[in-house]
Amino acid sequence: MPTLKQLAKREERFISGHRLCAGCGAALVARMVMLAIEKPVIVGNATGCLEVASTIFPYSSWKVPYIHSAFENVAATISGVEAAYRSLKKQGKLSLDAVFVAFGGDGGTYDIGLQSLSGAAERGHRMLYVCYNNEAYMNTGIQRSSATPRAAHTTTSPLGKVIPGKVQFPKDLPSIMVAHNIPYVATSIPGRWNDLVNKVEKAVSLNGFTFIDVLSPCRLGWPHEPELTMEISRLAVDTCIWPLYEVVEGRYKLTYKPKEKKPIVEWFKLQRRFAHLLKPENQQLLEEIQKEVDRRWETLLKKCEG
């Protein structure tokens, strides 16, 4: 695990010039993930914000070999790259030791790309899959995904006169990935650089399919003030909406325990997508969400104890 000073001296592999928003969580995640990997690396990217904003021809922010093919298939695309690499290794035509990283948003990972993700995980390709989870389809203009929180306003789960935002709670994708019995599953946030860097280092050192789900604030879709990205991501952890944990060979471990568990409303009040939850008429809904967050947190704690 490098110190921040050491990390700062490393050569950047995801560089400036991209057109992601100021305060975009995905840009920070990509930069930190790429800084954490020292080995030769090939990157795949699903269609999404990170993809469209980082590779506008003839420019590219990627100082590593990079491929994007489509939206729902980055895991399959990198499966092919990794299979080619293995084939060349087997034939003695390649000596270097490389790692493979796939990036996808929650759309490309939780939803349209779930099949491809599951297939690649089951086959056990050696790759780290990083989901930059901004909890909606931000690239197409803030539509709900299965990662969108309950009651969040999006353009396809709008706050209306009879329906107060998204009806469902978010899908628990890390659990689905754990059920694949892969060597490593973790959650992280950009706001704790050491947590993310440590987890990426661990994941790429393992031989197999590894998965990190990184909550990635979206200033345009959540929306929030751009300077609050890091703080909002930390607050998601401190409210236990987005606990930080890792699952190594099926064993759960909490990697950060909030000193004091904050009420979810603390997180909600910094984001306009939840503004309606602060109104007295939605008090019951707020309580319902708090209850579900508590239930999920308790379940996780039990898994970590066991």
């Binding site: 092919g80 080619a84 084939s87």
Partner: protein, 395 residues
């Protein structure tokens, strides 16, 4: 060496000899055997291939794209719904200029679900930037797949190629064919010409970005370049077909002419029906009728000028389509042929369209004889009284 093989076995055999670095495939009737046989080759250590048993055809093509982009030879095989599921990725494979080779077994598209032959699946991919080679028999299927590697990888082409057989009719029927020795096949295919790729760029520390966002200022140029690859394929395909002929005695071009030179009326057809049609041509020739056949092997790129040259002076052409264009006009092959012949000033044949054999409906000898008789009638008057007829359907 003469052997007896089904179409699927012959495809698998060709793949063993091609010995690709990566095969990513998903089973689908009637193409299943191709991957089944090939995965046995992998399990028995007969090939160097890394076999990726993906969870869908979409992922099969995606993995082939990743593998090919990494700089190696990648292959797959599919049919029907599988090809339809790949549709999005077909365009991406061609757009990224990846020389992927695919064995396609032609099968009807749902709905209604049907597992038997027609060309609807392949027709759905005709504008995707893939080169399309049709086969009359198992021999041609085998030869086409071997040549496909050379065509796809040619530096002037760099486009993916699909070689097709007709579902069940060829895929499951045992035929005698001449297969090359492994040495001859591998020598003919040769080493893949180097192209920019991910592994090379990793090795050399000079990163490349593939699949960048191309907006109004670049997309058109890149598409134009891919189109140029398709134009170049028109030169490369007959060259490779000729070289193949010189070495192995079976020469290939864009199409085959059968009893053609003095024919007054011609049936134009693709795939296995050509074999049946040849029998009818023989029979009708004995009756003194000047009938002939043009079997189109290369559908994409479309050899328009060559077809016009060949068909100029013929009185009538019956275009047989094993797919319906659902255009309330014709099958998909017919408008292409019409367009190809439109610029003939003098001696332009009258062209009629016959849609046949959907969902594996047998095309009988008498059906083909009927089409010949129809176009003979048309040839006499020089005028057609219809454009399209469905053959062999109850209505």
């Amino acid at each position: 060496m003469k052997v007896a093989r089904t179409g699927n076995e012959a495809f698998a055999e060709a793949m063993r000899q091609i010995n690709p670095d990566v095969v990513a495939a998903y089973p689908i009737t009637p193409a299943t055997e191709i991957v089944q046989i090939f995965s046995q080759f992998v399990a028995d250590g007969l090939v160097k291939t890394e076999f990726v048993a993906v969870e869908s055809e979409h992922s099969a093509m995606s993995a082939c794209i990743g593998a090919s982009a990494a700089g190696i030879r990648a292959m797959t095989g599919t049919s029907s719904q599988g090809l339809a599921l790949m549709w999005e990725m077909l365009y991406i494979a061609a757009g990224l200029r990846l020389p992927i080779v695919m064995a396609v077994v032609n099968r009807a598209l749902s709905s209604p679900i049907n597992i038997h032959c027609d060309h609807s699946d392949t027709m759905g991919a005709r504008d995707s930037g893939w080169i399309q080679l049709f086969s009359e028999n198992v021999q041609e299927a085998y030869d086409n797949l071997i040549q496909a590697v050379r065509i796809a990888e040619h530096p002037d082409v760099k486009l993916p190629v699909m070689a097709t057989t007709d579902g069940f009719i060829l895929s499951h029927c045992l035929e005698t064919l001449d297969i090359l020795s492994d040495e001859d096949a591998q020598d003919f295919i040769g080493i893949s010409p180097e192209r920019p790729n991910l592994i090379k760029s990793l090795n050399e520390g000079s990163p490349i970005t593939l699949g960048a966002l191309d907006l109004q200022d670049y997309y058109f140029e890149h598409k134009r370049q891919a189109a140029e690859g398709m134009f170049n394929a028109k030169k490369v395909i007959p060259e490779i077909g000729k070289e193949f002929g010189k070495r192995f005695g079976r020469e290939y071009g864009f199409f085959e002419e059968y009893q053609f030179v003095d024919a007054e009326v011609v049936i134009l057809v693709m795939g296995s029906t050509a074999g049946t049609a040849k029998d009818i041509v023989d029979e009708m020739r004995k009756e003194g009728k000047k009938v002939g056949l043009l079997k189109l092997r290369v559908y994409r790129p479309f050899p328009a000028e060559e077809l016009a040259k060949a068909l100029k002076g013929k009185k009538a052409v019956g275009v047989m389509d094993r797919a319906d264009g659902m255009s309330a006009f014709s099958g998909p092959l017919y408008p292409d042929i019409c367009a190809a012949l439109y610029d003939i000033d003098q001696g332009r044949p009258v062209i009629q369209n016959y849609i046949y054999g959907l969902g594996g409906r047998d095309i009988r000898k008498e059906d083909i004889r009927y089409i010949f008789e129809e176009i003979i009638k048309t040839a006499k008057t020089g005028k057609k009284d219809y454009t399209l007829k469905y053959i062999g359907v109850r209505e």
